[in-house]
């Protein structure tokens, strides 16, 4: 193995660029973390860039003590977990019959057309709003889950994945008297962990970060999910300072509190991210091969 000098230059050039790109990706977050851990006066004097100055946990103490934030947090956590589980079930139940060949399930083709139309013709927002309200989801916390439990794109990804299962195995199971339901739940799904994890990631991120639907459909502050709550904290001084007694001798201000709130909302994602990261690559691979 011989490496020429230009080869070495090339490789180190790539490393430099990638490190730069990584830095661009994380530096905004680092600066927010630093702000959340700094004192009010350090932040006011604009001393904080990437490292905390006059280190203090006061902003965090205040944020952690806000019951409304925790309420929004657990509401969002619950709707994300339940919504993701429900979404996987709904998607699998529809994707499995549609993955059958024409000879096995002749009506699959027609239904698939209906699914594709649902995917490409996006209903306009105003009629969509009126329909969801008509169904009774207006100001109803279920609106945090229901609109997100079946996504036609994800359906197609799962269908493509199911299609590659060996037909012989399923036929043998059928002849043994194994029904389609048992086949799906005991044979197909246990072998589909990769696609299930990928779609769980897609649905989960969507549910955790959802903002537009609750903004449209929820009026009651009790049911505000985390992102709406954070938005209030960021844009409204009176909401974020609501729990503090006097402003005189505090060691935090709206800026440090906002920084802490934002990190509060990112932490759960950072915690699960390392376990899910590889499914991003898998998802990109499955998603780029259309059936």
């Amino acid at each position: 193995m011989f490496e020429s000098r230009s080869e070495k230059v090339f490789v180190s050039g790539i490393t430099v660029i990638l490190i730069l790109l990584s830095a661009i990706a994380v530096i905004p977050l680092l600066s927010v973390i630093a702000t959340s851990l700094s004192s009010k006066s350090a932040v006011d004097m604009n001393l904080v860039t990437l490292w905390p100055k006059q280190f203090t946990f006061d902003s965090w103490g205040y944020i952690i003590d806000r019951p409304d934030l925790w309420r929004a947090f657990f509401l969002t956590l619950g709707s994300t977990v339940i919504g993701t589980a429900l979404a996987l079930l709904m998607t699998a139940l529809l994707a499995y019959p549609l993955s059958k060949t024409k000879s096995e399930f002749a009506w699959g083709g027609v239904i698939m057309v209906a699914v594709v139309i649902a995917m490409i013709f996006k209903a306009p927002i105003v009629p969509y709003f009126l329909t969801v309200r008509g169904i009774g989801l207006y100001n109803n916390p279920l609106v945090l889950i229901i609109p997100h439990i079946l996504n036609p794109f994800n359906l197609i990804i799962m269908r493509t994945f199911f299609k590659q299962f060996s037909k012989e195995l399923e036929e043998a199971a059928l002849l043994e008297g194994c029904g389609y339901f048992r086949m799906l739940f005991q044979l197909v799904l246990p072998l589909s962990k990769a696609v299930l994890a990928t779609l769980a990631l897609f649905y989960g991120v969507l549910l955790w970060n959802q903002f537009q639907h609750p903004l449209f459909f929820l009026q009651n502050p009790d049911w505000f999910p985390l992102q709406i709550k954070i938005r209030q904290f960021i844009t409204d001084d009176s909401v974020i300072m609501a729990g503090s007694a006097s402003t005189a001798d505090l060691n935090y201000n709206t800026r440090t509190l906002r920084a802490a709130t934002v990190i509060f909302a990112i932490v759960p994602i950072i915690l699960v991210y390392p376990f899910l990261q590889k499914y991003f690559v898998k998802g990109a691979m499955i998603g780029s091969v259309k059936g």
Partner: protein, 318 residues
């Protein structure tokens, strides 16, 4: 074909009955999903009718008077229709052209990293912004640009001798740049993974043969990687052109902090429709704008898909 039917071929008179018995569990399985699509995706399509009515909440929507194309006429008479269409299309074009280039370049860089652990590290870091919600992104931008406390005004601009600072949230001329940079910050890492996944599929033998012939790394990229990936790039581009009438609501609504002064350069069809719905605009016009978006968007997806099919049937969406 029809291999699945072979076991039943011996008893033809029972075939039809068997077919229904056989389909029943599959049909039952699909009931929840199909009902869901009916309510969530098909029922709202009927509501398109309201764009042709003079919406009167006192009378109720069904009883509101029909006005044919009045709403559309008003919409296209204002300069709004032009501005939101222009913004939506231009931003999308910019995102597609520059975004494809950046993601592809980034994928090629990743592909040159042969150490698995190092590769995983870079991948994790650059896809991280994709997971961060727009609410939080809008805060990150605000921390950078806020007039009195923003990092740009109190630190960066003074380096260049600009003591006064810039009032970012009222100066519309900067926003095409800001929104584009924010979009790329959030999306390039993730979309480069899509290209990277395609790169992984290239047979290593091509590169070995090229190396034996003395090709440099750049020559290998130019003569092997690029030609093989061209179809993928074309396909992804065409598909995103099909979505050119839609914009990322979060990006255009939240990052400019809903500042009215920025309408000319930050309003898109989606934010316009939303403001109409929330009462800060004309609901009739916004309903019309929504229908206009759905129909043109639908035609564009069909067209893009048709072109993809001409090029390669397997890559088409349907």
């Amino acid at each position: 074909m029809d291999t699945a039917l072979v076991p039943q071929a011996g008893i033809p008179h029972k075939k039809k009955k068997n077919k229904y018995r056989k389909y029943a569990p599959l049909l039952i399985m699909m009931v929840p999903g199909l009902l869901y699509l009916l309510f969530n995706n098909y029922l709202p399509m009927l509501g398109i009718a309201i764009a042709f009515k003079k919406i009167n909440f006192a009378k109720g929507l069904l009883e509101s008077d029909w006005v044919a194309f009045e709403n559309f006429k008003y919409l296209f008479k204002t300069s709004d229709a032009f501005i939101i269409t222009r913004n939506t299309i231009l931003y999308n074009l910019l995102f597609i052209v520059v975004g494809t280039f950046l993601s592809f370049a980034c994928a090629i860089l990743l592909n040159e990293i042969k150490n698995k652990a190092v590769l995983k590290f870079y991948q994790s870091i650059i896809t991280l912004p994709h997971l961060i919600s727009m609410v939080i992104v809008s805060y990150l931008v605000y921390a950078l640009l806020s007039a009195d406390t923003g990092f740009m005004n109190h630190t960066v601009l003074p380096w260049f001798g600009m003591k006064d600072g810039i009032s970012w949230y009222t100066e519309e001329k900067y926003w095409p740049w800001i929104l584009t940079l924010v979009h790329f910050w959030k999306s390039v890492g993730y979309s480069s993974i899509v290209f990277f996944a395609a790169l992984l599929g290239i047979d290593e033998e091509y590169y070995e043969a090229a190396r034996l012939d003395g090709a440099s790394r750049l020559q290998q990229i130019r003569h092997i990687t690029l030609p093989i990936l061209t179809p993928v790039i074309i396909m992804l581009t065409l598909l995103s052109i099909g979505r050119i009438f839609y914009s990322d609501f979060g990006l255009f609504y939240q990052v400019p902090m809903n500042s009215g002064a920025l309408f000319n350069t930050t309003a898109t069809i989606d934010t316009y429709v939303f403001k109409g719905l929330m009462g800060s605009g004309d609901i009739g016009m916004s309903a019309a704008a929504g229908v206009y978006q759905s129909i043109v968007g639908f035609l564009l997806v069909m067209l893009a898909n048709y072109i993809v099919r001409l090029y390669s049937k397997d890559s088409a969406l349907f």
